[in-house]
């Protein structure tokens, strides 16, 4: 029987949760790297036992861990992320120039065809790659050296590159997103990049439709339709049907269009999920009700999914990398909260159950569908 494995990064360590295809009973292991912040873990799609984890804290900096046995044992690999050339400056919160300074890895995106190749999105925003399983990292500096780079400013969480999407139909095309520079696309494997923010409207900017500066929280793509992107922006849920060349809003009837996560059903590319959050100043669910909203029409028409989720006195957040979807029938949907719960639905979101209640604040959730 097939199974699933959840990789959960938290404020105080990593956890690995396993279940069979029924997804009713879960075995929890961890904390791995107890006491460290684990921003993200992700497995190779071609070698499910190969997992990369970003381990960091303010005292000791960045460590990268690699597992070759599905998260049972781990080995540290290289943690040297050095910007190429003379990095120069980006723009600080107060508008002054600020030197680029590596802080941590926010996101790992393993290659679709090589377990030794992994992309890393880091703060301050840059894209790195290893092609030797993490033994060394090299910056794809064309992104940071884009002519808009000196104008990139951090969002509240820092100047972080948090989203990396690899196009399964074109090995040279990928999408990334940076808070708060916006979304970018490369068509040449990372050598050159184009801002893809046309149609975004951010009222907090001096020029709300500027080429860059939009606080993109997360972007999702279904592998069967690599030209269709969904975005949860600081405010607004957006959609692009032309690989980011233009965006239009699909927030529709959401109770709030602020939020962090957005994800797509494994088998229905027009079915998408978001978790509305009240506002940028109150990172909690509206009305104290934790609701996932599902659109079966690619946006605009949304239905609340509440069965099994707390509908009163709930004041947690769901961070940008903390939702994942497996590829079983029916597909399982998972998300973690800053209150330490990981909720799972084994029926496309119709009903939910907390599979763990009391983890540290959850930063990220990834799922593997295992044979």
């Amino acid at each position: 029987m097939s199974g699933v494995r959840l990789l959960v990064g938290t404020h105080k360590g990593a956890f690995v949760l396993k279940s069979d295809g029924k997804r009713e009973r879960w075995e929890v292991s961890g904390p791995h790297f107890a006491g460290w912040e684990i921003y993200h873990l992700k497995a190779s799609p071609v070698d499910p036992n190969r997992i990369y984890a970003s381990q960091s804290n303010g005292w000791f900096g960045q460590v990268v861990q690699r597992s070759d046995d599905g998260g049972t044992t781990w080995e540290p690999v290289d943690n040297k992320f050095t910007y190429a050339g003379v990095p120069g400056t980006h723009t600080w919160y107060d508008g002054t120039p600020h030197p680029w300074d590596f802080k941590r890895v926010w996101h790992f995106e393993p290659s679709l065809d090589d377990p030794d190749t992994v992309y890393a999105g880091v703060e301050d925003a840059a894209l790195f790659r290893t092609s030797d399983g993490g033994r060394s990292w090299e910056e794809l500096s064309g992104l940071r050296e884009h002519n808009t780079g000196p104008r990139w400013q951090p969002g509240a969480g820092g100047l972080c590159l948090h989203t990396i999407i690899l196009d399964p139909s074109d090995a040279k095309r990928m999408f990334i997103a940076i808070s708060a520079a916006g979304a970018f696309r490369t068509n040449d494997g990372g050598t050159s990049w184009k801002p893809i923010n046309k149609g975004l409207n951010s009222e907090y900017l001096p020029d709300p439709t500027a080429e860059i500066g939009h606080c993109v929280h997360h972007v999702a793509m279904h592998p069967s339709r690599p030209g269709v992107l969904f975005m949860q922006k600081h405010w607004d849920v957006m959609r692009s049907d032309d690989a980011g060349e233009s965006w239009h809003e699909v927030s529709g009837n959401l109770p709030s269009d602020f939020g962090f996560v957005v994800d797509i059903h494994a088998h229905e590319p027009e079915t998408i999920y978001v978790v509305p959050i009240k506002s940028d100043s109150e990172h909690v669910p509206p009305d104290g009700k934790l609701r996932v909203f599902r659109s079966r029409s690619g946006g605009n028409e949304w239905e609340p999914l509440t069965k099994g989720l707390p509908q009163e006195n709930c004041y947690v957040n769901v961070l940008r990398d903390a939702m994942a979807i497996d590829s079983l029938e029916k597909c399982g949907i998972y998300f973690g909260t800053t209150g330490g719960q990981v909720y799972a639905s084994a029926d496309d979101g119709d009903s939910w159950k907390a599979i763990v209640h009391d983890l540290p604040a959850v930063f990220s959730v990834e799922v593997q569908t295992l044979p």
Partner: protein
């Protein structure tokens, strides 16, 4: 033999328990001790000092003989008691009160 005491998180990372003893050739300084420590345990590279600049990370402090040596020049000789192994060289994670 130089004795080095590290914070729990770094001991876990390096998979050691208790203090570390190191042979340091030449002058015994912060730099030579940390070079020897990182040579023995490469996983510690970048966790105490910056990879490139070799500057102490901001929340790391160095102590020896009950004195804070964090701001000493890295090539300044450490006290004789550290050189002789009577006293350890301490790598400490700064602690915030509250």
């Amino acid at each position: 033999m130089i004795r080095v005491v590290m914070p729990a998180h770094l001991r876990t990372l390096a998979r050691i328990s208790g203090e570390v003893t190191l042979e340091v050739s030449g002058a015994v300084t912060q730099r030579s001790v940390l070079d020897a420590l990182e040579e023995r345990y490469p996983v510690l590279r970048g966790t105490i000092r910056d990879h490139a600049t070799k500057q102490r990370r901001p929340f790391i402090r160095f102590f020896a003989c009950e004195e804070d040596r964090s701001l000493d020049p890295p090539d300044e000789p450490l006290p004789a008691a550290v050189v002789s192994g009577k006293e350890p060289f301490l790598v400490v994670g700064a602690i915030a009160g509250g």
